[in-house]
């Protein structure tokens, strides 16, 4: 049974790597700033999922904390970028 699970984890990791690559392409050539912010949002979620896959492959629980931190700080970063696009500055006086 482990062979099927191993193959599934390989497949999902390949899919997530392809998805991260697509997001990186959009991040590089996005025509406007909001495209880049959206691609950044997609990219950090894909990277976090790939990190969770790595944790599943190595049967370790240490990757969970890293994934939680990536999710939280990525959310804060995306909100800051969107606020900057909306208002011109992040923290207003």
């Amino acid at each position: 049974m482990n062979a099927v699970l191993d193959a599934a984890i390989w497949f999902a990791q390949a899919c997530l790597a392809i998805a991260t690559t697509f997001a990186a392409i959009r991040l590089i050539r996005g025509p406007r700033a909001q495209d880049r912010v959206l691609a950044f949002d997609t990219m950090y979620i894909n990277g976090m999922l790939n990190l969770l896959m790595l944790g599943m492959r190595s049967s370790s629980t240490a990757y969970f904390d890293m994934a939680l931190l990536i999710a939280m700080f990525g959310f804060v970063g995306t909100i800051s970028l969107a606020k900057f696009l909306l208002r011109g500055e992040v923290i207003e006086p």
Binding site: N2, I9, Q13, A23, R32, V37, L49, A71, L86
Partner: protein, 131 residues
Amino acid sequence: MSTVEFPLWAALPAAILLIIGGLVTVTGSIGLLRLPTFFMRMHGPSMGNTLGAGCVLIASMLLSSALQHRPIIHEILITVFIVIASPVTAMLVMRAAVYRTRVNEERQRKQATPLTAAAEGKQDGERPAAG
């Protein structure tokens, strides 16, 4: 991975969920890459990534529960966080895009009729967007 033998009840649903999650996530990212306008592009990752993350996190919960012989539901934290954060992010980026599109259109209209632009003299602290 090769040192631990997972039982069938955990390995099979986890494998199916991982495959579904990977396919859904790559579909969302293809949508992000291929769709023509920004407002179309926004839908792909904001829905595909949420569902893909849910599938992968449920698979991770199953595997770690089977590994430690007791229910491990730590991953539900990330699931709840993503489910809360993803619509907020999509909404804010969409509002920013609507605002920037409107500002761009106003600027183009003023350039088309320069007399009213000189009369209004309005400035907004934003660079003209590239492209």
